[in-house]
């Protein structure tokens, strides 16, 4: 009996070792070149279409700047798991780290890493108190803009009726800021009754089910306003399933599914937060600061801008070239086209990043 157990356990150990070695074999090819700079890039969730756009842009920056990039992050958004990933990257000897900061519990840990001299940049999710520059949108302001656009669509300050607001991740600081802005704008119409904000979940299937339930419970709602990437697509599907629905659908991000909902008229407004800049700029800032010995251990704000998209109009930030909706749709499905479109921005706004640094308070102004 003991022999059998021993044999099985030894087999287990040997196979575990084999799996780890095999796993090492799927390491990114860039890992092989030790003399290049290596940048760690940590996102708060893997497998989200919007986050994928950021990751792709970060990889484009790494390619342009001839550095290695290690992308990692937890499967589900959870601050402690993400902080552990950042700590692991720091211990593995990367030269700089870009990370989103979705949780306040990450702040002390990140500052401890910065204190050791590790250059760091935050993106997409701001950690208040982290001593590193932040690349992201003006979250409250973009919420105000979305709220105003929705209000304009439903009749302005004299509008009367229900507006459903959904937050896929209550407590996530950037989303709370957007929500604040949206509600601020909608409150300008005294006849508007806000339904929610409801927890509409981040998972695509659960998100759809939540919006479906909300519209079923409030069939005469004037508008449905989401704050996260899966919302516009879900709202579009819910509207499509209700023939004759006049409910306005609005939300965030320019994923392929969201643009499709705008194109077929089942959703109406989506604000982008320029994922290209949120991925490209942090890597650029890190590499530039390491190569030119620029200290970046202060909380400063680098605006990634807000893109305003409806089926008939596309407004891009920072004087980028005009873009039609169809071109935007094609671009969202092609990294090559995305990189080409933003080339002018890379040569101006990105290159001059030091001139564009603003006080961190402007993020939530």
């Amino acid at each position: 009996m003991i022999k059998v157990m021993r044999r099985s356990r030894w087999t287990a150990v040997a196979l575990t070792a084999a799996m780890v070695v095999t796993a090492a074999g799927v390491a990114t090819p860039a890992q092989a070149a030790p003399k290049k700079l290596t940048i760690g890039f940590v996102v708060h969730v893997i497998g989200n279409p919007f986050i994928n756009q950021i990751i792709e842009a970060a990889k484009m920056a790494a390619k342009d700047l001839n550095v290695n990039i290690k992308v990692t992050g937890p499967a589900g958004a959870e601050g402690d798991a993400q902080l552990t990933a950042v700590q692991n990257l720091a211990a593995s000897g990367v030269d700089g780290i870009a990370t989103s900061v979705p949780a306040a519990s990450m702040v002390n840990g990140l500052n401890a890493i910065i204190k050791t001299g590790m250059p760091m940049v935050q993106f997409n999710g701001l950690g208040v108190g982290v001593k590193a520059p932040y690349v992201g949108e003006k979250s409250v302001e973009s919420g105000r803009l979305l709220g105003k656009m929705v209000l304009d669509k439903i009749g302005g300050r004299t509008a009367k009726g229900d507006v459903i607001v959904g937050n896929c991740f209550p407590g996530f600081p950037v989303l709370e800021n957007r929500q604040k802005g949206v509600l601020e704008s909608l409150k300008k119409a005294p006849g508007i009754k806000i339904v929610g904000p409801s927890d509409v979940k981040v998972d695509a299937a659960a998100n759809f089910a939540a919006w479906q339930g909300l519209l079923a419970a409030n069939p005469d709602a004037l508008a449905m306003v989401g704050l996260c990437a899966p919302d516009v697509e879900s709202i579009g599907k819910v509207n499509a399933a209700k023939p004759g629905s006049k409910t306005i659908g609005a939300g965030y991000d320019l994923t392929t599914g969201n643009l499709e909902a705008l194109a077929n008229g089942t959703a109406h407004i989506s604000l982008g937060q320029t994922p290209f800049l949120q991925g490209y700029l942090p890597v650029y800032v890190l590499v530039d600061s390491i190569r030119n010995k620029i200290k970046i251990n202060r909380a400063r704000f680098l605006d990634s801008g807000t893109e305003i998209v409806t089926a008939t109009k596309v407004v891009q930030p920072f004087g980028s070239a005009p873009l039609t909706f169809k071109k935007l749709q094609k671009m969202s499905a092609s990294n090559k086209k995305t990189r080409k479109y933003y080339d002018k921005l890379v040569k101006t706004y990105v290159k001059d990043w030091r001139k564009n640094l603003k006080p961190i308070s402007e993020e939530s102004a």
Partner: protein, 326 residues
């Protein structure tokens, strides 16, 4: 060989194969990335995974009883929120800590009482209570992070010790968790309460007929899980300096996996507290190893799952063979 000499022969502890697997994993990652073997890195790794290890050490009690708790992550969260809000409200830090742990114990007791009263498996009861605890936490923290930022609070020995402001050769949280493991091990294997848990897990009906107060033991075991989750929450608050609405959300898989990899069967009747510690470290080394080896993020979840399933599967094979032979 006589029976006497057989009994005197040295027996490796049950956890030997897990320890060996852990050392092997450390060795492989270390051989490929020598930075990994730096003592400070290994200690930080252990400290990062110490809270989930502590929970794994306690969930062994429930697994040994043939039960499983799905709510401990949210008990941890709500306990930390209670402690954090109490501190912000001006309650002395030591009293806030006790309040947090007490809240955890109460939540555990509620789980146990509901299981006994409703005559339902703990897994079903905690499916509901997990959501309730999460909901109460979100209402209490107004869906935001709880951050005791007051300078007076931050300079308290609790935050300075756990947060690493006071330099110790070994992180304090690690020392504390190892101490808890000693207590959990002794309680499970050297006390009547522990024996009763194992007896209930082995054969609940026989345990009841033997006069073991099964209902009381179930409530006590759930309360213990709540207390330990509460301790975990308070440790988290001190270690990270804040608690977020998502804290604890993703603890279920790594904690249960750690206990099972460590050698505690889901079927009940047996359990190893120390094994769960090594199991937690294996889960940790897999996570850290993936980063050190530069495995693409898209692959990392798959690799983690494969290694965990593999380890559990092999353990099960060994167990089945052992049962067949005996």
């Amino acid at each position: 060989m006589s029976e006497k000499s057989k009994s005197k022969r040295f027996k490796f502890p049950e956890e030997t194969s897990v320890i060996f697997a852990l050392l092997l994993l450390i060795g492989i990652v270390g051989a490929m990335r020598p930075n990994f073997l730096k003592p400070e890195n290994l200690l930080n790794l252990a400290a990062s995974y110490s809270i989930s290890a502590l929970l794994a050490g306690c969930i062994v009690y429930l697994l040994a009883m043939g039960e499983i708790d799905l709510s401990f992550g949210w008990i941890l969260n709500l306990s930390a929120v209670v402690a954090g809000l109490a501190m912000i409200a001006g309650v002395p830090v030591w009293l806030s800590i006790i309040l947090g742990i007490f809240a955890g114990g109460m939540m555990g007791a509620i789980n146990g009482a509901l299981t006994v009263l409703m005559r339902l498996p703990l897994i079903i009861v905690t499916l509901g209570t997990a959501s309730i605890f999460q909901g109460i936490s979100l209402i209490s923290n107004k869906s935001g992070s709880v951050v005791p930022t007051d300078e007076k609070l931050r300079s308290n020995i609790f935050f300075r010790t756990l947060g690493g402001d006071i330099d110790t050769p070994i992180p304090f949280i690690l020392i504390f968790v190892v101490f808890c493991f000693v207590l959990l091990h002794l309680t499970l294997h050297k006390t009547r309460f522990g024996y009763r848990i194992l007896a209930i897990g082995s054969n609940p009906e026989a345990a009841r007929l033997a006069g073991i107060p099964t209902k009381r033991i179930k409530i006590l075991a759930c309360t213990l899980m709540g207390v330990v989750s509460g301790i975990g929450g308070v440790l988290f608050l001190g270690f990270r300096g804040a608690v977020d609405p998502s804290t604890g959300a993703n603890l279920l898989l790594p904690v249960v996996a750690a206990a099972i990899i460590g050698g505690t069967p889901l079927s009940g009747g047996a359990g190893t507290v120390w094994g769960s510690l090594y199991g937690a470290l294996i889960v940790g080394v897999i996570g850290v190893g993936i980063v050190f080896l530069g495995i693409n993020a898209v692959w990392s979840t798959l690799v983690t799952g494969l290694v965990i399933i593999f380890a559990i599967g092999i353990d099960q094979i060994v167990r089945v063979r052992k049962n067949r032979i005996s």
